[in-house]
């Protein structure tokens, strides 16, 4: 995302910012220790699904905001995929105007309360913070982002009013559709509504927000936050249609004949991968999608009050090393597992999960079996998995992705007792949409092919973004795509339908 340094510097040049910078010397700022996120103690939090991180209080937030040096060329901004004016919002926190900080965030990020919680900051914004050059921990951008947006949300709730729409344009009557309701579509929808379009979001499930609802657990992202962001979008005129599977319930042609002129496909990468090893269809072996969906979307952890059941394993192995695997294994702990294991074929350094999640998982007693790979599942007479055969691995030469490739060590097979296995080795793009839209160009991996500048697909007026384009990626990248596509679609529609 190209960063608009002119905008940043105009904001930075304001009198109050100058005064704030003058109030405390850079040396004193950089001498302050990085704030620690208050969190529930492990023994307490594993009893339920309450959010682990409890959030900064005002005093902590202002103190952390003081650490930010308000750099002339803020390198942190180039680490953020949507180019948030990071010093701009942080300095508003330091000045005590939390709502102004939240507004600043919302100019570029429709879901700051979500991103502040789930962005892999250590490889994005915070990785570029100037503090690294001083061999000091970076400014806690994510914690501050969460703080400001949480303040704004509780304010909004207290006032019972809709937040003002930053930069809203007059309604133009043109209708656009978003397919899927994950972060890519939500961002697209918010942006188009602001541009004055009538937006309808179609979602296959009975609940909105994609992975934010069915995937990421309550203890990391409380569903109330997601719901409140949806309510905000509704308040600015976005219409949501649940239980509509585009390609099945309605086709693209149906939508066109209903008067939709522009389209955004944000249908995600929802197809779970399995490893296709013997015994994988035994009872007690779940995809991480099924495991997390049963718990998050269907509330199986409240069975039998809720009707959807889940196997509550005592010895649970989760295969994989990404966020999905960490979420699954920590869910297993909360469902009462006596032994919860991560089984990962590379070493801990290669794990794609956020560092914070790995750390939290360890605190919660999760065992890490790295350089270990399952090769077979052994069921009992009733077909339930009782053991898994694994192989030890070692790291060989680097592969295309630059990571060292795991190689099996001959003769290292051994058995581990398990009664539940969660396979979290990734997902593929859901083929439903590509299959149902003739002429839509799709890559050999099943992702939709787009022009990277505009997110335009091979069909005019049809844009796509998020995981359906990237394969499994991140919330903020999906959001960045939604925003880019909205701008391109607006320009396209203004050209095609100038009267509108």
């Amino acid at each position: 995302m190209p960063v608009d340094f002119q905008d940043l510097s105009a904001d930075r040049g304001q009198k109050w910012r100058e005064d704030l910078r003058a109030a405390l010397a850079a040396k004193e700022r950089s001498a302050l220790p990085r704030v620690k996120m208050p969190e529930l103690a492990p023994a307490e939090r594993i009893k339920g699904f309450r959010e682990v991180n409890s959030g900064l209080n005002e005093e902590m937030a202002v103190r952390e905001a003081k650490r930010c040096l308000d750099c002339i060329t803020p390198s942190c901004v180039s680490g953020c995929p949507v180019g948030i004016n990071i010093p701009g919002f942080i300095k508003r926190i330091e000045a005590g105007d939390f709502l102004a900080a939240a507004r600043k965030l919302k100019e570029t990020n429709a879901l700051p309360a979500v991103c502040g919680r789930v962005c892999p900051q250590e490889v994005q914004c915070e990785s570029k913070c100037v503090y690294h050059k001083m061999k000091k921990p970076p400014v806690a951008v994510g914690y501050l982002e969460r703080f400001a947006s949480d303040c704004e949300r509780s304010e909004r709730r207290a006032a019972g009013a809709a937040a003002p729409v930053p930069g809203a344009e007059a309604a133009n009557g043109s209708r656009v559709a978003a397919i899927g309701s994950g972060p890519a579509s939500l961002t697209f929808a918010g942006q188009m509504a602001r541009f004055g379009f009538r937006v309808t979001v179609f979602e296959a499930l009975h609940e909105l927000a994609g992975v934010l609802s069915y995937g990421i657990p309550e203890f990391r992202l409380p569903k109330g936050i997601v719901r409140s962001e949806i309510a905000y979008l509704e308040s600015i005129g976005v219409v949501f249609e649940r239980n509509v599977v585009v390609g099945k319930t309605l086709s693209m042609d149906d939508l066109k004949s209903q008067g939709f002129q522009g389209f955004f496909i944000g249908s995600g990468a929802g197809l779970p991968k399995f490893m296709h090893i013997p015994g994988e269809n035994a009872i007690g072996i779940y995809s991480s999608n099924e495991y997390l969906t049963r718990v998050n979307l269907m509330r199986a952890y409240q069975f039998p009050e809720y009707d959807t059941p889940i196997v509550r394993g005592r010895r649970v192995a989760v295969i994989g090393g990404g966020n999905t695997a960490m979420d699954s294994v920590r869910t297993a702990v909360r469902l009462g597992a006596e032994k919860a294991m991560i089984v990962y074929r590379r070493s801990e350094e290669e794990m794609p999960a956020r560092i914070e999640e790995v750390h939290h998982a360890k605190e919660e007693g999760v065992e890490f079996l790295t350089l270990t790979n399952p090769v077979e599942y052994v069921p009992d007479a009733s077909g339930r998995v009782k053991q898994m055969k694994v192989q030890n691995m070692e790291l060989g030469a680097a592969d295309d992705s630059g990571r060292r490739r795991p190689v099996a060590i001959a003769g290292s097979e051994h058995l581990i007792d398990v009664d539940t296995v969660v396979v979290g080795v990734g997902t593929d793009p859901n083929p439903l949409i590509p299959r149902s839209i003739p002429g839509l160009e799709v890559s050999k991996w099943g992702t939709i092919v787009v022009d990277e500048e505009t997110m335009g697909t091979s069909l005019p007026g049809v844009y796509a973004g998020g995981d359906i384009v990237r394969g499994g990626a991140t919330v903020i990248l999906a959001m960045g795509d939604g925003k880019k596509a909205a701008e391109a679609l607006r320009d396209f529609l203004r050209r095609e339908f100038p009267a509108g």
Partner: protein, 275 residues
Amino acid sequence: MNFIIEKTFLSENVARLVVEAPLIAQKQHPGQFVIVRTDEKGERIPLTIADADKERGTITLIVQRVGTSSHKISLLNAGSRLLDVSGPLGRPTHIENKGTVLACGGGVGIAPLFPIARAFKEAGNRLIAVLGARTRELLILEGEMAAFADETVVMTDDGSYGKKGVITIGIEEVLRREPVHLAVAIGPAVMMKFVALLTRRYGVPTIASLNTIMVDGTGMCGACRVSVGGKTRFVCIDGPEFDAHEIDYDEMIQRLGTYRAEEKESYDAYLGTLS
């Protein structure tokens, strides 16, 4: 949306619901299903679209009480509504003129079989229906089938109606008697397994429609996976119909039993709230 227009019982434990669902009624084809949720705490369960009326904008669901969710649905009456109905899901049956088609339905499987059988008849096939039930009271849709079928054979396990014996006996009589070009089997997994064994002996291509456990019905979870020809397939997006001779029924039957203990716990608790 999703209002129930009509509700009747076809037998003591089988209810028939006509549900307002105009979009789905427009789009559905024989062989497809919907996912239904009754209330905020309810499960998502798959039910075949047993019939549809495009003009009225309704679909017909036929549900057999086997546990909490199906019982809840069977108790809904005209005027109330289903919380969520999503579909039509799954691939439609491939309908063509084959010659003679044998439609084999067991128990509540006769409901999903009905629109498929009718479509094969409308495509010009000679259609022979063989319907099986444990006992006379459990037999559904016989009259509706007989209305278009060239021949309808009824088998009951206890001989209380039609011929006595399991469904495969009735099927084999037809297979011995005349050439059959395609068989369609829908019913309990064990029934489909034995029908498949039989039709394989006679070299008759056969499709079976599978009723695995599902959650989303859109290919997202893998709960519905089965082994077909040694490969893992998802019933909700690759099916629900597969080559009956390639399905690993034993694995499927075991997987259907995944939650037996939980289902009983849930059903007992639910029945407790009714009494």
